[in-house]
């Protein structure tokens, strides 16, 4: 008798998702899917709105990474305005984006994934959360909370608000950086460095104990894409996209926002509201690729900051060519954070950082524009069309989770096949299947409304839909 195992909702994710695992008559895994079960409609209801409202409107997609949407959207608007923003504004935005990356990565690593890594995949779900981590290793919990505060506080200092700051606007930012604020950020640096060092040291100690998970957590060759600078260093806000293959050879380089839609297509599957992005010349699903921390580290030659470069060199030793296992997203995430902290410090030492010219103004000078940036979880692309008056007539957003969608689905299937045998599974096994998705840190276009741990219900259905068994975690 075939069965379907449903994990709904998947816990410790940003947003609401569901996993289904189909078993055949022999109890072997036939197929598995990761479903995103909501539709948000942002692209549709932004139609008719003035284009310069888009950054604020689009930031509302997510309370975790509103800054990425602000920046990608503002850049798309600047393409419509045909302006180049002042140097200081570009630097300030870069810092804001990095601060958000640090806080979002700490959320993903410490709050959502470290319970699995510290307490174990099979540990009691009642304590498998951030408070369990704080109880077991207080200094680790403190480091995570400290890094999140670091990022959030910089966002608040720059944009006056931790969530949905209105500071980033088409043309730049609304106000320059005050010296007192710069000094306050600089004062936070030593603690941030010590926290990330603690996290990296701890992760490296425990990583090898997860060898079985490393082998089956979405561990397969694929293409990788991310923003990169001309000097082949990592980039989150400007630069252009590079796409490499599983061997590390460059497939496409210098993909700017205008060219993005020529190269990247989006497929639709009936089981998910999230689209599946793919590299057009290879078609779907062969052209599927991964984005995010793992992809970023795979495509770059250097981080561009001294401490992160040492860590990048160590990371590159994990594989001959691109690192393939998605388990290493955790590792890459920590390197990203170290880079972010170093880069913020570098940006603050820019002699022009307190300059008052932070905004370019213009009207509608082009009827179409696109912008891209690296969100913490991967490349984010916004593409708008406007009428003569600047009202949006069409919008398309390609988000990181859509670009990782195929890899997440393949990863869920890979892990389910490995762990679910003879139709038997435990809570710990299903937690591993969820943990595969967690490595990608997908943002299911949710906001911060999910508070605490959501209940997890597993249902075993017979082919005629009858409930065979039910397991509930509350």
């Amino acid at each position: 008798m075939s069965q379907t195992i449903t994990i709904d909702p998947v816990t410790r994710l940003e947003g609401h998702g569901k996993i289904t695992i189909q078993l055949n008559g022999q109890g072997e895994v036939e197929d598995a899917h990761f479903h995103v079960t909501q539709v948000r409609g942002f692209e549709k209801f932004s139609e008719g709105r003035p284009f310069y409202e888009m950054p604020a409107l689009m930031a509302r997609i997510c309370g975790i990474c509103p800054v990425s949407h602000l920046i990608a959207s503002a850049k798309a608007c600047e393409a419509i305005m045909s302006v180049r923003i002042p140097h200081t504004a570009a630097q300030l935005r870069r810092m804001l984006n990095l601060a958000q990356m640090v806080q979002s990565h700490s959320l993903s690593f410490f709050y959502l994934s470290s319970p699995d890594l510290l307490l174990g995949m099979e540990s009691d779900p009642k304590t498998r959360h951030i408070f369990g981590v704080v109880g077991a290793r207080p200094e680790l919990g403190r480091a995570g909370i400290g890094l999140r505060r670091f990022g959030q506080h910089i966002i608040e200092l720059l944009g006056n608000k931790r969530i949905h700051p209105g500071w980033v606007i088409p043309g730049g930012v609304t106000e320059p950086l005050a010296q007192a604020k710069r000094d306050e950020i600089l004062a936070m640096m030593p603690e941030a460095y010590s926290n990330i060092k603690l996290a990296l040291d701890w992760y490296k100690q425990i990583a090898e104990t997860f060898r079985p998970e490393i082998e089956v957590f979405a561990n397969f060759p694929s293409l990788y894409m991310g923003l990169i600078n001309e000097d082949e260093s990592v980039e989150f806000t400007d630069g252009a996209l590079r796409l490499i293959d599983a061997q590390g050879s460059i497939v496409e380089d210098g993909i700017n926002a205008t060219r993005f839609s020529e190269v990247i297509g989006e497929a639709v599957e009936p089981y998910s509201y999230t689209k599946f992005a793919y590299y057009k010349p290879l078609g779907y699903p062969e052209g599927s690729y991964r984005v995010g921390p793992l992809a970023r580290l795979n495509i770059v030659k250097t981080m561009g900051t001294p401490l992160a470069d040492v860590e990048l060199a160590a990371f590159k030793q994990l594989a001959n060519g691109p690192v393939q296992s998605s388990f290493y997203y955790h590792h890459a995430r920590l390197v990203d954070m170290l880079y972010g902290i170093e880069k913020i410090e570098q940006i603050l030492s820019d002699p022009l950082i307190l300059d008052k010219h932070v905004r370019a103004t213009a009207g509608v000078n082009r009827l179409e524009g696109a912008g891209q940036a690296e969100a913490p979880r991967g490349t984010l692309h916004h593409h708008y069309k406007v009428d003569e008056n600047g009202l949006i007539t069409w919008a398309n957003l390609v988000i990181a989770t859509g670009q990782n969608n195929n890899a997440m689905n393949k990863g869920v299937l890979q892990a389910a096949r490995h762990y679910v045998k003879n139709g038997k599974f435990t809570e710990g096994i299903l937690n591993r299947v969820e943990a595969v998705v967690r490595t990608f840190d997908p943002c299911l276009s949710c906001s911060t409304h999910a508070y605490g741990q959501m209940p997890l219900a597993l249902t075993l259905l017979s082919p005629d839909g009858e409930v065979v068994d039910r397991l509930t975690r509350s």
Binding site: G48, P50, Y52, E53, A56, N160, G166, G171, T174, N389
Partner: protein, 238 residues
Amino acid sequence: MTTVAVDVKTLVIDGQNVSARAGQTILEVARENSIDIPTLCHLDGLSDVGACRLCVVEIKGNNKLLPACVATVEEGMEVTTTTERLTKHRRTILELLFAERNHICSVCVSNGHCELQSLAQSQGLTHVRLPYRNPQLAVDASHERFTIDHNRCILCTRCVRVCAEIEGAHVWDVMGRGIDSMIISDLHEEWGKSSCTRCGKCVQVCPTGALFDKSKIGSDHPKYPDFLPYLNLMREAQ
């Protein structure tokens, strides 16, 4: 030496004995005596139309609620500006305004300095009991400098009045009746093609984010409607 006889009225507002000149409105007298009455369509420097009804007050011996912005003082009047009944009415008016069109504060250009939003807060409006109408209204961005978003318009007609009374252009007016009422420029032409003088007074007096400067958002766009009394004063002085 000539003396001007002033017709003085004495009355009571919220238990406070106050004196006023004949012809003054209850609102004027109340504000002169630091008694707060919430208003929305009223703006110092413009004529009053008593449209929003937020300033309604109770008068002893009168069953009707009177709008303080247009009701004039009378000798011996006993006015109460805050009662449970009045608060209930004011909240209901605000709920009706919020339900009528699309007021999404979080992404509105006036978030944080919107008179409708501030009133909702000061009147303790925690939720809207009425179903939202969610009308599909257009945004007119044809003007070179300004935009009108009818979704956020509460039909207070401040723009109509400031344009006609102060600027003297009378570009804005109201079209239709009841729920179908709309602010229009000239004879319902695009604002960018209208006879607008581009003075921007309507933008400054708009209590919500319905009228705003192009390319401005949120904290970027405070409004300064207090120029009107000065403008009137200077013109009268000439």
